[in-house]
Symmetry: C2
Subunit: 383 residues, 2 copies
């Protein structure tokens, strides 16, 4: 299939684009490269040295004989988006092209507004260009498990059947997101749902958990194809950050009590989940929601696992409980369903000692690149 | 109390500003006057000839001895908003200042984007200025009953208690809005809820039904204070539009079967509901939701009532069922709760024959101003 990966220069997008290309799809990448610019502005850097996009793509072609089309530009620029789509003629669009950090969105008013306008308008533009030129194109949109927050009942996949005063209906699952970033994804979900209903578009919302890991079969083929790995207080996510902290003898930074439970998955499952969604498109008019994760852990559990794995490798790993910079429940019920992707054939990579060993070894390999000043959280939710 | 009415030059805002001023509050109006500009661009006009804002305010002072501060500018312009708020020092802000037409938001991509960016960013700016300078200020925000859509269960006021798999929680009521405008209000609700939670702000979301009527005690004091009355296909709402159509011998334009049931209220109750909300502020950290309406009618019922009242006055009223330009259920369950405002002391004005007589007479008085070309819907939900 012809698949356009929007945001294909990013952490999940790059791994996905190469995976789909390797598995026989005709892949295009559309990216405005702004994430590299934000890194520079925030003075943070991926642990791993990533190559420029044109170098990455040339190496991919040299290694595999496959080529990936590149469209550099912003989906907030409608004429550009329209022209790129008409040139590429996608059968499916995988949309990773959003500002994806909760702390980034909480820096100040300007970053909150940037995040919501960038994400909401980009997705609106995509809905209109699909409506006008590719009404059968399947939109595979990255959402987040964070849209649900931490309700005291089981989290279903996008919808819940409610019995109330003797009547019954299946309605969108209530959302309680925890940052202006997570809110932007909730806004997107509502907008896409509506577009499917009125225009008959087909869309799959992948409510993804926290992704960990750095190697996929494709990005591991060559150092030039290496994926980014963030450990800073703005873009770094829990498990990856802990492994890097362990590698440089920095105490693991657990926010608050650490009882915050979240959904997680290996990046090798991210790419496979996207392929499953692409290969099994939603029906016309259907707004389908998959919860894309494989396991649930508390942040404290993760820190303990990294400490154990690190100790077995001779590292001295400490765990620090920081004042929580976020506003979130630190002890709560959390039980989310994830059967839709398993039913389509996902065979999860579970978090294991060997994965932790490999992540820790990866972190050790690049530890000379770590800037300690980037590790601690600098953005607070409360004023 | 010192109350700033954002959007105070509009239909609901103007009536509210005068009512609050008349009832002893210190009132300011903040408005960018863009609605008058949009009317010009769309080549539509209110039935009633409205005076320029400065003329309106001067007449109000001449008649009552009360003055209303005026701030002309856009809440999307943060420095302007911040400066106006610091000058006025509000204890409550009533926020009507959004693009409020569903058809307007469905004209094309540009109008959808304009509506969502204008409404979402304006409200985000307001949340930040309140956080930074007036943390105790009560935000009274106009939402809409259209946020709920038409679920097959009773509609509660903002939240619903759900029992699921043996556990229970009270969660935000699921939203199924029917236009990019209604979606913008859902986005606002989520953003405001979050701001209350993390910053301890106090907010009341007034999910208002369709407003009808034109006279309030204050706007009826003098022709220069007259309120706008829209009958065009973009800004005109059901009952007002039907009365004007009857007055000019135009068939009433019922979209589709007319079984669409909605919540309604008299504009004299709009102003009273806002006063009740202002006088009884939400608690710090509380995101309170009131369903602001008094009665439910189907569009077909309304048309029949106007036909009956018009016939009694000697008018020949026909009802036309047009192809529905919107995508919406035309036969559905609809039962919404509205006890919160009644508990605070609202005594509703119910839709009556005498109200219909008065609205019809009003329409007859200004019928020479009607432009027939504006009446039919020009905006379609489907492509």
């Amino acid at each position: 299939m012809r698949v356009l990966v929007i945001g294909g220069d990013g952490y999940c997008g790059w791994a996905t684009a190469l995976y789909l290309s390797n598995h026989g799809h005709d892949v295009g990448i559309l990216d405005n490269l702004v994430r590299r610019h934000w890194d520079a502005q925030l003075q943070v850097e991926t642990l791993t040295p990533i190559a420029p996009i044109q170098t990455r793509l040339q190496r991919w072609t040299d290694l595999t004989g496959k080529s990936i089309d590149l469209f550099v530009g912003d989906i907030n620029d409608y004429p550009f988006l329209e022209s790129a789509m008409r040139q590429f003629q996608p059968e499916a669009v995988v949309h990773f092209g959003e500002q994806r950090s909760a702390p980034f969105s909480m820096i100040d008013r300007e970053h909150a507004v940037l995040t919501q306008v960038n994400n909401v308008v980009g997705t609106l533009n995509l809905l209109y260009v699909i409506r006008d030129h590719f009404p059968d194109c399947h939109l595979v949109k990255l959402g987040t498990m964070g849209e649900y927050g931490t309700p005291n009942i089981d989290i279903e996949e996008g919808y819940i059947t409610i019995e109330h005063n003797g009547r019954k209906d299946t309605l969108p699952y209530p959302k309680q997101p925890g940052s202006f970033y997570h809110l932007s994804k909730v806004h997107d979900s509502h907008n896409i749902h509506f577009a499917c209903k009125i225009w008959g578009l087909r869309a799959t919302d992948l409510n993804q958990g926290v992704v960990y890991g750095v190697l996929t079969e494709e990005t591991g083929m060559d150092e030039v194809l290496i994926n980014r790995l963030d450990y800073d207080g703005v873009f770094g996510t829990a498990l990856n950050r802990f492994c890097i902290q362990a590698a440089v003898d920095h105490p693991l930074t657990v926010y608050g009590k650490g009882g915050q439970t979240r959904a997680f998955l290996d990046i090798r499952d991210t790419v496979r989940c996207v392929e499953l969604a692409v290969a099994n498109p939603a029906k016309s008019g259907e707004f389908r929601v998959f919860n894309q994760f494989t396991e649930m852990f508390s942040v404290g559990d993760l820190a303990a696992m990294v400490k154990k794995a690190g100790s077995a490798m001779g590292m001295k790993v400490e765990i620090n409980h920081l004042d929580n910079p976020r506003v979130e429940a630190e002890e709560h019920y959390f039980n989310a369903k994830n059967t839709n992707l398993l039913d389509l054939g996902l065979h999860p990579h579970y978090l294991s000692d060997s994965l932790l060993d490999s992540l820790l070894n990866f972190a050790v390999k690049y530890k000379q690149r770590v800037d300690h000043a980037q590790i601690l959280p600098r953005v607070k939710w409360r004023r």
